[in-house]
């Protein structure tokens, strides 16, 4: 069968190849292999040449010693805080304050955090008795932050020793930088298959993907799990808006103000990802719904010409919409095309498509290995074993979830009934057509 498929492939002319496999050759390969490859080939040597600039920024940082406010908003996350405190204490940059906001936890979070506060391990702990959602908790922390920079981090994560120091460098190298995304990686990849695959996905989409987008000036998201912001900017926009997907939302707002949003792959933070496919599906469903909501509804002004129109912001949103939403539709077209025109070759087409996508993933894995090497970090050689699973994961599993989420969101505005927000907040958001 595989042999036959290979013979089928050999006998195809160039145009036939394009006709049968246009989604791969015209879209995915161009976007995720060629484009990223070209950009990385430019970015990595450039970063090497900038070594002196990084060193100067570092020197400037340690002579200015700006205070960083590390804010950790969350619900029922007290059990992670002691470990987070530990990784913060090991940071190479010691001038930070830790602000933890408990968003109406119903577990031992208040007790744990009060104890840490008493021992001076948390600088400020605020418990909101009434739950207000993640945005409100983050805004509460912002209200009392004193630092020049705000680092927003998930409780359930730990950082490399130099993470805080490194995430600040882009601010010092370019005064136009408004926020910096850190490189979120998978901490618990050894826990399950699902986690192993997410590790590859994170390195593809965050480390490589965001670095490329950042280099092109198109980065549209700074992860809420680990990102740094200038406090003056956050205060000017009065903090975070109601989620879900509040990370993407605030990043766009900052972009609209004319500030740069960059990704710093050298600042590493490890987070725990869902270990089962069901939990993972729920997480992604939530994320995907917010895509529609914020890119399409709330920030649609970016797509229309106006005074504050900026091509890059337009491309950012357009790219996101195109590659996530419209390309979802391409599969429907492709599917019907195969059924209608080439039903005799379905098996060959599937095998060959799979083969192409494995190759593309392998190339992307090579990109990530190159990046890690150039950042003087250990490449994840072991994960190459899981590459053959990636086409099924991204091509089928994630796509199904995404399609479902888009449909639900467009039809029912489902994300207003998000269990991550108290219903009261969601109701108001819906009424105001946010």
């Amino acid at each position: 069968m595989i042999e036959q498929a290979f013979v089928f492939f050999i006998n195809l002319s160039g145009w036939q190849l394009l006709g049968y496999f246009w989604p791969f050759f015209m879209i995915d390969m161009v976007r995720y292999v060629l484009l990223e490859g070209v950009v990385l080939l430019q970015y990595l040597p450039q970063r090497k040449r900038k070594a002196a600039l990084y060193a100067a920024a570092r020197q400037q940082l340690f002579s200015q010693k700006p205070l960083i406010s590390v804010i950790v908003p969350g619900k029922n996350e007290g059990r992670y805080i002691p470990k987070l405190v530990q990784t913060l204490r090991q940071q190479s940059y010691p001038f930070y304050e830790l602000i933890v906001v408990d968003d109406g936890s119903d577990d031992a979070t208040p007790e744990i955090c009060r104890e840490l506060e008493r021992n001076g391990l948390i600088d400020c702990f605020i418990r909101n008795e009434i739950r207000g959602g993640k945005a409100s908790a983050a805004n509460t922390a912002l209200q009392f932050a004193k630092g020049r920079y705000i680092v927003h981090i998930d409780a359930d994560s730990h950082m490399e020793r130099d993470a805080l120091e490194t995430i600040l460098l882009p601010f010092l190298m370019d005064a136009d930088v408004g926020c910096v995304g850190g490189d979120v990686r998978v901490a618990n990849y050894e826990d399950s298959f699902a986690a192993q695959i997410q590790r590859i996905e994170y390195s593809k989409s965050i480390m490589v993907g965001r670095t490329v987008a950042s280099h092109l000036g198109l980065l549209r998201i700074v992860s809420g799990a680990y990102g740094a912001f200038r406090r003056d900017i956050l205060e000017a926009i009065h903090g975070w808006d109601v989620g879900p997907g509040l990370d993407g939302d605030i990043t766009l707002k900052i972009r609209k103000m004319g500030f740069k949003v960059v990704h710093e792959p050298a600042s590493v933070c490890y987070t725990n990802v869902p270990t089962s496919y069901t939990k993972l599906a729920k997480q992604r469903y939530r994320w995907d719904k917010s895509m529609i909501r914020f890119r399409l509804r709330k920030h649609r002004d970016i797509l229309w010409p106006s005074e504050s129109f900026r091509w890059r912001n337009f491309i950012t949103v357009a790219d996101n919409l195109f590659f996530n939403l419209l390309l979802d539709i391409k599969w429907v077209i492709y599917f019907f095309q195969i059924i209608q025109l080439s039903s005799g070759y379905i098996a060959f087409l599937i095998i060959l498509n799979y083969f192409f996508y494995v190759c593309a993933n392998l190339v992307q894995w090579l990109f990530s290995a190159m990046m890690l090497r150039s950042l003087n970090q250990k490449p994840m050689y072991q994960s190459v074993m899981f590459i053959p699973l990636m086409p099924i994961y991204t091509g089928t599993y994630l796509r199904l979830i995404r399609t479902f989420a888009y449909v639900m969101e467009l039809l029912h505005k489902r994300s207003y009934v998000d269990r991550w927000n108290p219903w009261k907040v969601s109701k108001i958001a819906k009424r105001n057509k946010l």
Binding site: N128, S136, V242
Partner: protein, 467 residues
């Protein structure tokens, strides 16, 4: 007509006996069996209370247990002192002081006094016994009452008059009696006391956990649902009767519907530190010391009820007292017997003029406090103390107890100097006993004098006590 501060109401004819000459010093001479109750003119409550204190501090149960009635000229009575008497009666209209009708229930107290066993009716100065008897005779519990006039915040009105300033506090005495199972306690309240001076008058305040300043701002947070903005309420502009969100310019109309107040925090004005925890400290009104609340003395304020053991002790006295132990170890004579012996000895010496005898007086200062401090261990000390008496005294010496801590010894055929010598040996041994075994000292006052025909034992003891 000039009112008398003190009026005795006689039992038999229920007629008051007014005597301008009745002074507190002459209380001793009163035939108490005939007295039904004491009426005190309480037109001025502090004078009346002072009189009550004198009565309650008398050593005879006939006097200190006797019912006392305050006669007031007004219904308006404020202050715990009003509760220290057994009853308060108010003069009606132009009624005369002598015409006040005394309630019959007070007779119950008199009956209790009459039932006291014969040997227990004599003078006794034991505070503990007095407390037990006051409670037993009134079939009453010791109820604490909060008061701003007492620096430790609580007073037991019935018992307070028994205690002079020098005595152990009422609370400590009640606590001790509870320890001895003579009283049982029921929690009335829990209260904080200054660890430096015992005062209950404390100003509690939150201070900054970072710098200790008490200059804190209370910041109220407001969360606007529709835009997620969450900040100090003062950052929201006031627009008519509603707040206006500075982020989205919308009006915040209904709490719980479009906004919430998720929490309040303390913000230090001095160091800007923000926390929901304040360090609670208490500043003492009495001694000005500031103490962290967690280090304050948190005590149980109890009401106390007599136990059956306590009721028994009220009748028969406390058997673990030094005098009781001494009574067993050495033949302790009553004061009357002792006086008799002393008189005989004085007459003998005057007649023959050949020999000399001495009267030695010893007073252990604060012996009753040892009882309170050491509890059951006190018995051991008292036994040791009695042993010392035994080794220093001779067979022929005669000893009596004037009160709980003062003793008189008649030493026949002993010069005043030798008696002084014996007393100093006694003192040395006692000092040794205390420093070696109990890590504290006991002050001893002593005096030796020659027995002469002029000697009046009681006067000598009285003089010694008051010197």
């Amino acid at each position: 007509m000039m009112k008398q501060p003190l009026q005795l109401v006689f039992a038999q004819n229920n007629k008051p006996l007014l005597q301008a000459t009745t002074t507190f010093e002459s209380l001793d001479k009163v035939d108490w069996q005939q007295v039904s109750c004491l009426l005190l003119d309480a037109a001025d409550i502090s004078t009346a209370y002072a009189a009550l204190v004198k009565l309650r501090q008398h050593s005879s149960p006939h006097c200190y247990l006797r019912p006392v009635v305050f006669v007031a000229d007004t219904e308006r009575q404020s202050g715990w002192q009003w509760h220290s008497a057994d009853a308060v009666l108010v003069l009606q209209g132009d009624q005369l002081f002598e015409q006040v009708a005394v309630p019959d229930q007070l007779e119950m107290i008199n009956r209790w006094i009459d039932n006291l066993p014969q040997q227990e009716r004599g003078a006794d100065g034991h505070l503990q016994v007095k407390v037990l008897r006051l409670l037993a005779s009134r079939q009453s519990t010791a109820e604490p009452q909060a008061t701003p006039t007492n620096y430790n915040g609580y007073v037991y009105p019935l018992l307070q008059p028994v205690f002079s300033i020098q005595d152990m506090g009422v609370m400590q005495t009640l606590g001790f009696l509870e320890q001895q199972n003579l009283l049982s306690a029921t929690l009335f309240d829990r209260a904080h006391f200054c660890i430096h001076c015992d005062s209950a008058f404390l100003n509690f305040k939150e201070t900054c956990v970072a710098c200790g300043s008490h200059d804190l701002d209370v910041v109220e947070l407001v969360h606007h649902f529709s835009c997620g903005f969450t900040a100090d309420i003062t950052r929201f502009k006031a627009g008519g009767d509603a707040l206006i969100c500075p982020k989205c310019d919308k009006h915040l109309r209904h709490i719980g519907v479009d906004y919430d107040k998720p929490s309040t925090v303390n913000k230090c004005r001095l160091c800007q530190h923000v926390s929901q925890e304040g360090n609670v400290v208490a500043k003492c009104f009495n001694c000005n010391c500031t103490t962290e609340a967690k280090f304050l003395d948190l005590r149980r304020i109890n009401s106390y009820k007599l136990t059956s053991v306590g009721l028994n002790a009220a009748f028969y006295g406390l058997k673990t007292y030094f005098t009781d132990i001494l009574e067993n170890e050495l033949q302790l004579l009553s004061l009357r017997e002792f006086e008799l012996f002393a008189n005989v000895e004085a007459a003998r010496i005057a007649r023959y003029g050949k020999s000399q005898s001495a009267l030695a007086i010893v007073r252990f200062v604060g012996l009753d406090k040892i009882h309170l401090e050491l509890g059951s261990k006190a018995k051991q000390i008292f036994t040791e103390l009695a042993g010392i008496f035994k080794t220093i005294l001779r067979e022929t010496d005669i000893i009596t107890a004037y009160n709980e801590s003062m003793f008189a010894i008649l030493m026949p055929e002993t010069s005043q100097d030798n008696a002084a010598l014996a007393l100093s040996r006694l003192q040395k041994s006692v000092e040794q006993l205390f420093t070696e075994n109990f890590d504290r000292s006991l002050d001893i006052q002593q005096h030796a004098l020659a027995v002469t025909s002029e000697l009046q034992v009681r006067d000598a003891l009285e003089r010694f006590l008051n010197q």
